[in-house]
């Protein structure tokens, strides 16, 4: 059993990383008390988009950031999508490809 100091605080994504591993890491990091900010590449966030969009806890900051090979796209950001309804009558998911 890992001690408090030894618990992993990151998951490095590779081509071999499964969706399940990403989901498990997401669930772990968003429920741990010693983590206040979670950074995730937007490319990886798109793989678990349904989980990311359903997360709405106010305290933990969940930030989608650009990666080297995949630039940031505001249209896919979960926070911007959540407040987009204030500007139009479209649903949150209708603009997603």
């Amino acid at each position: 059993m890992l001690t408090y100091e030894e618990r992993q605080i990151h998951l490095s994504w590779t081509q071999n990383t499964t969706i399940k591993q990403i989901e498990d890491a997401f669930k772990e990091f968003t429920t741990r008390e010693d983590i206040a900010v979670v950074l995730i590449s937007q490319y990886v966030a798109n793989m678990i988009r349904f989980l990311v969009d359903s997360y709405n806890q106010p305290v933990l900051a969940f930030l989608e950031i650009p990666s080297k090979d995949h630039p940031y796209d505001p249209a896919h950001d979960s926070v911007i999508s959540r407040v987009k309804y204030l500007f139009s009558t479209e649903s949150v998911a209708s603009g997603r490809r």
Partner: protein, 217 residues
């Protein structure tokens, strides 16, 4: 006489109601402006983060080219646990308007000298001089310097800590590697700003939504 008194009191009640309505509308408009400001800041900061990270990656690639792939390599990491050089503090502000937590970055706070407060001041200076120009709709908006190259106030201890963290790449490192380190430091500060602005945006959007639902209902 009594009728006059009654008329006077009803007029006063109407005036009070009108004043309350005007005050309510003013608060609603303030929430909307605050929400739009935070949304604008969020998008601007993310754009700034993208360009800062791109710059950092390019500088790192340049450093790798000049120093050699063997000197800048993941294999140099010893994979041991180290105490964090930079930490994040979550504080709860008793803000009258928005009761929400606030993130603060403490850079190089693991030093024995413990100059966390000085680092916060330095972070603020760096943010003001290097950060994106955010629009503020208040009348007390800060003047942002026009020149992007405003000199940073760097403590000797901070420079030592920076050099120490680069020591795993060798004693003499490329200036590009140092530049990459600064770029990623700036990106970290921007991320903390984004986290704070995100909280404000979500909080104000909830308030605006409630006001809209109240109006429709």
């Amino acid at each position: 006489m009594e009728e006059q008194d009654q008329m006077q009191s009803s007029i006063e009640v109407e005036e009070l109601e009108e004043q309350q309505q005007r005050e309510g509308k003013r608060l609603e408009e303030e929430n909307v402006v605050r929400f739009l400001d935070s949304l604008d800041s969020y998008v601007t900061l993310l754009d700034s983060l993208s360009s800062t990270l791109r710059q950092g990656w390019l500088e790192l690639a340049s450093a790798r080219q000049s120093m050699g792939a063997s000197r800048i390599n993941g294999a140099l990491l010893d994979l041991k646990f180290h105490s964090a050089a930079t930490s994040l503090q979550v504080t709860h502000h008793d803000d009258e308007i928005l009761n929400q937590p606030h993130f603060t970055l403490c850079k190089w706070a693991s030093s024995k000298n413990g100059y966390g407060d000085e680092k916060l001041r330095e972070n603020k200076l760096q943010t003001n001089s290097d950060g994106p120009q955010l629009r503020h709709r208040s009348q007390f908006a800060e003047k942002i310097p026009e020149t992007k190259g405003a000199p940073l106030i760097v403590d000797d201890q901070v420079q030592k800590e920076r050099t120490k963290s680069l020591s795993m790449f060798g004693t003499l490192v490329s200036p590009k590697l140092r530049a990459a380190q600064l770029s990623f430091e700036t990106a970290l500060e921007t991320l903390v700003e984004i986290a704070n602005v995100r909280l404000t945006m979500l909080s104000t959007s909830d308030q605006v939504r409630k006001e809209l639902e109240g109006t429709e209902g």
